[in-house]
Symmetry: D2
Subunit: 369 residues, 4 copies
């Protein structure tokens, strides 16, 4: 609704810049009585933390979350939860030069144009560091969901890095946590490592495609027309830095399908409707079907590269930009935990919305005798 707030009832407002004193998330609307601790949120932050391997920025920060409000004796009280992460590795330097230069492909030119000024330190508000706040907020959402939807499993992973795709025949979920790319394909993990090393040496970066799924979502979540579950998932993913496209289920490929190929036929099983396929990605008419929810999104390659690029200064003078510093050659890697966090936030939000309107946390209409 607002500029920096996400969600209808479970509302997350993130704040903070890359190199200010701290950043965080103000989380409002969390149910009371949810078991929550800093450790529990830290678990998710640690998965996103930079500097864990040679493929992510070498900025080294503990990204330690502090809960400043809303939790008492290990339980949420129903009041706002303030999550703060201090910035501890802001290398002090003169940003005067950077403040006058616009990096091609970067938001610094548009922030300047919009506001007439900007915080140039490390990208300021447009830095990917903002996503740490999302992961922390997602940790709160997961804590609430663990009681409300105990069977829920959210899984994010990379399916493409530049020209390299995973082989779905080799899909192995257990592999995801074993490699630095969150890729469910051991062979791809090996190949991508070689490819990314080479790119980094060339002073270049590369894009990525992330897929995030949610199993165990009951039918009935979502709302028609403008607060559709798929609309809100698209909103959530598109709001992540550097995302240029989002798709659900068959996604953009649906443009190439016929009606017979696209419509998932339905059988009846003991546990309710069973679909023969999942082109819908678990959502029909903006409302969950009970199938696995499947979202994919593309992350563009970071514009912070050491290859010189033509640009201009604030006064219009032509220049060449080479971005030094600690940057991720494939920023998409770190988007995986962020996508999982956004999925958690959207699902909790829609669970609360559904509960508000219907009093239920699952389908109100029962199919089968």
């Amino acid at each position: 609704m607002s500029y920096n707030t996400f969600g209808h009832l479970f509302r997350v407002t993130t704040w903070g810049e890359s190199h200010g004193p701290a950043l965080g998330a103000t989380v409002d609307g969390c149910p009371p009585g949810v078991a929550l601790s800093e450790d529990r949120i830290q678990h998710w932050l640690d998965r996103r933390k930079p500097g864990q391997n040679r493929y992510t920025t070498q900025r080294r920060e503990p990204d330690a979350v502090e809960i400043l409000s809303g939790v008492y004796e290990g339980q949420t009280t129903g009041t706002p939860i303030q999550l703060m992460i201090r910035n501890t590795d802001q290398r002090s330097k003169d940003y005067g030069n950077i403040a006058d230069t616009f990096r091609p492909g970067h938001a610094d030119i548009t922030y300047f144009q919009k506001y007439g000024l900007r915080d140039p330190r490390g990208g300021g508000r447009s830095s990917a560091r903002e996503t740490a706040a999302r992961v922390a907020a997602g940790g709160v959402a997961r804590a609430a969901l663990s009681a409300l939807l105990p069977d829920l499993r959210i899984t994010g992973y990379m399916v493409q890095m530049g020209p390299h795709h995973i082989d779905r025949a080799r899909f192995d979920a257990a592999e995801i946590e074993r490699n630095p790319f969150w890729v469910p394909d051991a062979q791809a993990a090996e190949d991508w490592a070689t490819a990314l090393d080479q790119l980094r040496k060339q002073g270049n970066s590369v894009g990525a495609m992330i897929e995030v799924t949610a199993a165990g979502v009951p039918a009935g979540l979502g709302a028609p027309i403008y607060a559709k579950l798929d609309t809100d998932l698209a909103t959530a993913m598109m709001s992540i830095n550097a995302v240029k496209g989002v798709e659900i289920g068959a996604g953009l490929a649906a443009a190439g399908l016929t009606g017979t190929e696209n419509a998932d036929e339905i059988d009846m099983s003991e546990s309710g409707p069973a679909y023969r396929s999942n082109q819908a990605g678990g959502i029909l008419g903006g409302i969950s079907t009970g199938q696995e929810i499947v979202v994919r999104f593309a992350v563009k390659p970071t514009s912070s590269i050491t290859t010189p690029r033509a640009s201009i200064l604030r006064d219009g003078t032509p220049t060449e930009v080479v971005t030094k510093g600690r940057h991720d050659p494939c920023v998409g890697i770190r988007a995986v935990p962020v996508a999982e966090a956004m999925m958690a936030c959207v699902l909790l939000d829609h669970l609360l919305l559904h509960r508000a309107q219907t009093g239920a946390t699952g389908p109100l209409g029962r199919i089968g005798s």
Copy 2:
């Protein structure tokens, strides 16, 4: 924000079902003093109207808009504008049978599951007829924009129908209005007609990809993080019936690019920054660059086909569904005017947001001496 409302400041709430007495849009937040008449809105509705050629549903309705409030002596007063379109061609029949059957790929199963009941007449609220209300609201947005951004040009067109893509080398904007597919490629129009005739005879349907562009948008529109211009465009397009994916600029293809390929280099021109390419689709960091804004989205094939499909009844009994009636073989065709309307609504909304925060309707930060 709410279930059926779209927009931050220029807020559109659509209402109505396919076969109820009427449907429409409640438009709040329009600037005062905008020249507005029913004719002006009707112009846009007529472009979306069904039954205009053999490729859209043969339902024949005038889709005549009535302005019930908010306009006095041809000008908006700043108060809510109620736009009503009566449903005049609701063929009366017994919907009892349909009410118990779930069409594969259709929202009727999830609406029933969510609410425990539904309006089965013609798809009820999930019908594509809802988009008429969007087109009407878009007409209001365009009227306001014509004064605020006189150079704005919004253009929607199809770029893919099933396996058939346009040839960008043959792109001719003048062609768009000349064929029933809103396709900017005369040869494609001819080929697609043949292909679609064949599909319809087979009792099948097909998906489509729509592209909508906006030229003449000043730099500076948008907001960081959650109300990004691209996020809100994705929200707008994903909320249209049957849309399964949205992309901006390079879009999903950005996953396959390197940083050098993706970042649009910048030169200085007399009118400000000039970009050598537009992978960004006119948006960086959620804020417009001043380049052409480029959005694409995929519309799945309609599930209302005459080929029999396996499904179930409300009581769980297996059945076969054949959807008779008046349906579009390629519902994506009619999404073109809808996409233009949504683009207009989003741009006006962000213009108002930007004006609220900065007092300007364009960039606050000037580049160049």
Copy 3:
């Protein structure tokens, strides 16, 4: 949130002007499965209808509500409910003169200043006719509440008209429906009739104080800090035309009390906490206590009087204004059904909010062993 929308989850957007084709309310967020018909809403509209006695405007309109969407076979479907009331008694005349004159105490000067133009017909959007839309929306809220809170009783009545107060010792709820003033005191009804006749002859008008109570509200509704139940009730009542003040429980008189006088002592009863007094008006810390909720608000006398008043024309020329036409000498009378409707909307909204966050429709914390 928006300019013409009220409510968090049960959201009402009213639209329409006094002398346009129609006015109404777009109601979004209503639970599905609520029994609803035009008759049921009409019942409440008829109580507000003008022209029923000599103390309200002689404008005679049926104020017949039409449900245009959101209801199927007598039940709400969970989608937006459009309620339309046609304006049938808009006497056609030349408003040119009125459009240039500003009535002292009336909104026509500020509407003109804000928007640069206005709809002068019968007060346009600022007319008390807008409250018909609220009463209709309140009818929807009541229908939903009758299932969710069957013991709820909302009662509105006048407690003061100009210098005349009711005698609380004579309070008789049964009297409310028997007199044109909705006053729970038979003697007052008689006295006020005489007083109001005299005022009208003098070409004058008079203010009023309304009290509205809600019994049967469970403890636990409300939210801390900004969406407090009392805050939202104050918002609801202050948004009614001509209201200049709102108070809860002891209200403004609380400024004159000591802590021992003000704090309601608590005993334990079989049904839970029992309070020895109700200075709180049923709300502590923004959350309902389970006691009767008590709200009062003052309605200023209408500015449409036949006594000449000094004013100016649009061009600044001094003038004298005498407002002829059909006006209520005590517009507060008709505010009674409006206040009840707003109470219903707020209570339903907070019930849904509470259910969203806690899963309950009453207190989560139980007092007593």
Copy 4:
């Protein structure tokens, strides 16, 4: 909109409990380029700070604000401003006993009932300490307003304490800052000191009435029907702890007036319309007239008193409550700076809303030739 957020475009979300690590406000939507520093905000906080005289709680805390985001080189950047105030004087003690007792007149019973648990330390979220966050946010609003409305003067003061009223004939604005009661009447200040000393000795507390005015507000701010300027002011004031009633201009007394008494007659002056009186309190039809805005509200006496009061324990056992600790005998005193802060937030918010819709920061419609 949300549970803990206030404002449409200038949005303030407060967070934090009385005895947690910190509390604060997340401020989103502030215009960019506003000169802002911690000192500037601290100035306002210091006025509210407890322990400054013997009439406010003896809790001694610096209430030092830290700006954690949204400001760069002394200017707001247009991104969220996080304001944090550490709680430094939380005396550690065992709250187990308090957690099971409900104080008459206090929110602890309803918080427990609503959420099933609560943070009992010092009142938790319902503590008046929350208002420090409002004052800090108000400091941001004032900084933005100082550029946008340089002639704006916001003034808050007490007009009643228990049975003692100020004498308007002795009104002296210069006196407000000279006494601990913010009372514009030197004689009242003296008398009230005696009265309050006596009450405190008796272990009692007392209510208060606050008036806050805003001069220099242009005509045209506000919005019809639900986001009226007076509605939003009432919302703002009612949301402050312990407030039981709000009125604008003539306020509740309007119920006792006739139309001739109430309607402010209008003359033409060189600077535009000039009103002969201000019963309207500067607002007509929800929109500012350009006159002084006048709001009053009642603060109930604090329930934390040392006189024993009948109450119950969580298990229903009857008990007697005596609240020891550091409490304000007249909590209304400290509401004065809070009311000023809320006035500033509302005015900035409406200025931004008006600018969004009309492009102007003052009246669009000009009166006079």
